[in-house]
């Protein structure tokens, strides 16, 4: 299955990309998606994650076609 991964703000700068496509077989969590897309980089501690535009914790399981997003603490308003 295929999962779209997106990065925002300072995380996009440090990862060096705005998005990835990750192909996976079988059940997979948000944390595992990070590891597959960023083999050499530990997930930052304060990262926020969303699946299909809803906040999730990193053990949330990802389905085919999901959009997974990673980003730093929000600073709007």
């Amino acid at each position: 299955m295929s999962v779209k991964v997106r990065y925002f703000a300072s995380l996009k700068d440090s990862v060096g990309r705005s998005d990835d496509m990750v192909d996976v077989n079988g059940a997979v969590t948000v944390a595992e998606i990070w590891a597959m897309a960023n083999a050499n980089r530990l997930m930052p501690d304060n990262i926020l994650a969303a699946v299909n535009m809803e906040y999730v914790d990193i053990e949330h399981s990802v389905q085919n076609g999901d959009e997974v997003a990673f980003f730093p603490p929000v600073t709007g308003g």
Binding site: R6, F8, A9, S10, D13, A50, M53, E54, Y55, A69, F71, P72, P73, V74, T75, G76, G77
Partner: protein
């Protein structure tokens, strides 16, 4: 209503226009609370010459809609309007507008503040500041809007 705006907006004009368009609650609202967040020309002790506001199109709107729905469940509201700027912003320009209309002032104050705090904590926006020497820096986190409120002794604000 939720609006994400890439252009400069006038918060007071937005409030009047929205209120005038809502004829079904004319005469019903006794209390309006409006919060406007404006870009300052300094932050963390440094002069700031501008900023870029990034967002996550789709998720930002979804989160803001959920935040307003929650406030509508928690308080008696007639309506709410949230406008948030994105893109290039200069000092003294408005960044965010939260306006709520209610019959009674307690609901207006509580709901307005709740929406604003939730927006600060949950709505996916990120600020990158531009300094006078041309450097840019990401704002790392928002501060707590209740920082100076007497959390443990509410007597001051609860009278």
């Amino acid at each position: 209503m939720i609006k994400i705006s890439a252009d400069l907006f006038d918060p007071w004009h937005e409030v009047v226009a929205y209120q005038d368009s809502a004829k079904h609650w004319t005469g019903k609202f006794g209390a309006t609370n409006v919060f406007v967040g404006t870009m300052r020309d300094f932050n963390d002790g440094d002069a700031v010459t501008g900023m870029v506001l990034e967002h996550y199109p789709g998720m930002t709107e979804k989160q803001l809609e959920d935040i307003v729905k929650q406030a509508t469940r928690d308080w008696h509201l007639l309506d709410a309007l949230v406008v948030h700027r994105v893109g290039e912003i200069k000092p003294n320009e408005p960044i965010v507008l939260v306006a709520v209309w209610a019959s009674h002032r307690g609901d207006a104050f509580d709901a307005g503040r709740q929406i604003m705090e939730a927006l600060k904590n949950k709505a996916p926006f990120w600020k990158k500041e531009r300094l006078p020497n041309g450097d840019e820096r990401w704002v790392e986190h928002n501060t707590d809007g209740y920082l100076r409120s007497p959390k443990n002794d509410m007597s001051t604000i609860l009278g």
